[in-house]
Symmetry: C2
Subunit: 460 residues, 2 copies
């Protein structure tokens, strides 16, 4: 029996079988992706525990679904039939911050904001900042190659991962990557693990690159009558050669939902708000902020200014982060994550509006607009099955529109289950066959998060 | 016959069989790595030609060795028995510079400096700048994940590759990666191709990210009595939180060799020269330059100053670039490429000095010292076989020392043939087995540059 074998190699408190607790680990935050109750949950304390779990699962052919905080939005961490859910929430250690080499070594369960805080104590900065940063884990961030607000200037999780310790699909505990600034010894298998959503290995330790702390940011805001006008403002900023440290779009639906929840006194006079930031020091930052305000005005902003009130600026960014949970309070939300070439953002936003009208679906918008990464939030009234069907149809149209514009079906959330059909369309059969081959190579028994990202048929 | 089948699918001028010409494509610049004459050289003009070549080679089980300009330093492009050498020197097009999306699309044979020039005409910048940039190709840079002088601040080739068109080991022509700023649709197979040295696919087109042009650089120089003191100066700069846009070490041996060749009037009063640059705009750049000079002085520089003469500053960097060919004029040179944690650079430089003494070998040093990436140049008199044996022993000691210090056997040159033994020691059997599995998955017939990077045994 699986349970007997797990009990034989793990301390009792690592195994969880209480059905009420199992339920809490059965799925992530992706609405409507299928899930089931896991056979058992394990909460390992060490890489050796993880290795022991994988080896027992290998023996039994049992799927291993790894998860951190479960803040994923694509169903990547949803339990599959008969699986072990491996939770990293007891491997939270920040093992090391090295201020000279500018790197950190952390457990997969370390929370994103906790790493940022720890780095800050050494005058350093860990940039990747998904909206889930107060809860999501570095392991989950690596597994999905998480992005965030700062990516427009500072890149995504992939750009910060130097090395990984991983338990492989054959139960080996290995180190991939390096601690040095550069290195080209062999294939970039650490990079291959990033974004592979737990299908190629279970991450047990992460070494990330850190940057020096940056200058305080200036914030600019602009109000617009339409998402399309806001998209044009973002394109103008890019054309002007300014790389903002953040460039976010939040629409009125989101601001209202956050305000109803948190009573932050946010203005919702505008259909759409653009928030820009510059962390360039001194006069360069002043210049960037001025250029952004000018671009807002030229694109038809009804109001645009540099914020002189830090609290107000922070509240606007807090509202951006809270948009998803605020809407979720009002009913099931299906979160989109398409990314298109930046000059096609106005066109993509127009198509999202059309999809909302075509399918009579309520769509709110937040976006990392500087990256062309849009998050239409499709919300439906609780219990309205017909609205859900219409929302799904709008979701499918948006994915197809993004591909038609040369974009991708997922900018930063991952494929999980929700984007599997979109992925097949995006990659095509030859590249999908390469994925199958790599999966077979590194997980020959097909036990690691099977059925996520793409349909997988073990060679065995 | 292989030749007949190639003739049947390729225009006549694409095939080269003249033995004198074959010889010019038989090996790269790695001294002492084994090579042989190829069976035939092909110089395709299009991705379709490349695909036709790979398909014919698949039919015959013929190895395909891809090369660009042949400036590699590890033997990665050396011909193997019975192989087709595929040269990308007729696929040099810069297809597109997109100033809005800040990307370029180029053929694999486009020369690094040509891309930089073309980007510059749009106010943009392609950072990766290996010393070979006047000759080496973007395809070769991608295949080896080339670094260069600017990496200390701006990263390596990997950090700029957005997408690739590739002919796979099964003869499919596929697109990997993307044109969007972000994207996590499936495994990072484009990233996996970077640095895989032609063993996983033949690159036929490359999409790279570009940056905006930067501010003019300030240059600082410092003279030191020992490589170890210079290493301490570099560590001090890092500890001070300054990220220079270049931080290079050149020793007296190199300066003398360049001066003998080019008569540039370089001072060689010092044992070692450190060259630092800052491209921070305005006062920030002034501050960084001042901090670097201060760090030089505190570490015991015999002379240190910010250069006020742009020509002089450029001459020093030109000398850095010319060090390798200048030494090569004097006899066979074995180029090392270890990379160690930056705080261990003084220790590594001391060990290199010891290896030189232990094996009575002449070792000159250039280094991307800000990255901990050292290039000891082991040179021997022409025709002195005993000196070659001693140099090889010193080379092996340096590789072992780098691993003992937690470093890597190759920071940016690649494994090729010269670093295969070092790679095996660095990775260990479990990670090497993962490499074999990935190679088998993507090149199941084992025709792509077989025997490079690691020993490969096809599953067939």
């Amino acid at each position: 029996m699986l349970i007997d074998d797990l009990q034989a190699v793990l301390p009792p408190e690592v195994l969880v079988r209480d059905p009420d607790v199992l339920r809490g680990f059965a799925h992530d935050e992706a609405e409507w992706a299928p899930w089931t109750l896991p056979e058992v949950v394990v909460r390992p304390r060490s890489a050796e525990h993880v290795q022991a779990v994988v080896r027992v699962c290998l023996k039994h052919g049992t799927p291993v679904v790894t998860r951190g905080a479960g803040t994923g939005l694509s169903g990547g961490a949803n339990a599959v039939a008969g699986c072990v859910v491996l939770v990293t929430d007891r491997m939270t250690a920040i093992h090391e911050i090295d201020p000279v080499e500018r790197l950190a070594v952390v457990g997969p369960g370390a929370v994103n904001d906790d790493l940022r805080t720890a780095a800050g104590e050494h005058g350093l900065w860990y940039p990747p900042d998904p909206a889930s940063s107060p809860w999501s884990t570095i392991g989950g961030n690596v597994a999905t190659n998480a992005g965030g607000v700062c990516c427009v200037k500072y890149g995504v999780t992939r750009d910060y991962v130097l090395g990984l310790q991983v338990v492989t699909g054959t139960g080996e505990l290995v180190r991939l990557g390096r601690r040095t600034a550069k290195g080209v010894a062999g294939y970039d298998l650490a990079g291959l693990m990033v974004g592979s959503e737990g299908t190629l290995g279970v991450i047990t330790e992460i070494t990330v690159r850190l940057r020096g702390k940056r200058a305080p940011e200036r914030t600019v805001a602009g109000y617009f009558d339409s998402t399309v006008a806001a998209g044009e403002a973002a394109a103008a900023i890019r054309a002007a050669g300014v790389v903002p440290s953040a460039l976010e779009l939040v629409d009125r639906h989101c601001l209202l939902a956050v305000d109803e929840w948190k009573n932050m006194g946010l203005s919702a006079d505008a259909e759409v708000v653009l928030l820009g930031r510059s962390d360039a020091p001194g006069a360069a930052g002043e210049h960037e902020a001025a250029v952004m305000v000018e671009c807002f005005e030229k694109a038809g902003a009804t109001w645009a200014a540099q914020s002189t009130d830090q609290e107000e600026a922070d509240a606007l960014f807090a509202a951006r982060r809270l948009a998803y949970p605020a809407l979720e309070r009002l009913g099931p939300v299906l979160t989109e994550d398409v990314c298109v070439p930046t000059h096609l953002v106005p066109e993509m936003l127009a198509r999202i509006d059309l999809a909302a009208k075509r399918h009579n679906t309520h769509i709110a918008n937040v976006a990392h607009i500087g990256d062309g990464n849009l998050h239409p939030l499709l919300s439906t009234p609780i219990g309205d099955e017909d609205a859900r069907r219409r929302a799904q149809a709008a979701f499918d149209d948006i994915v197809a529109d993004a591909l038609a514009l040369g974009g991708t079906v997922t900018g930063e959330h991952g494929v999980g289950l929700l984007k599997r059909p979109g992925l097949e369309n995006e990659l095509g059969p030859a590249v999908l066959a390469m994925h199958q081959a790599v999966k077979n190579a590194l997980d020959p028994h097909g036990i690691l998060n099977p059925g996520k990202v793409f349909a997988f048929h073990s060679v065995e």
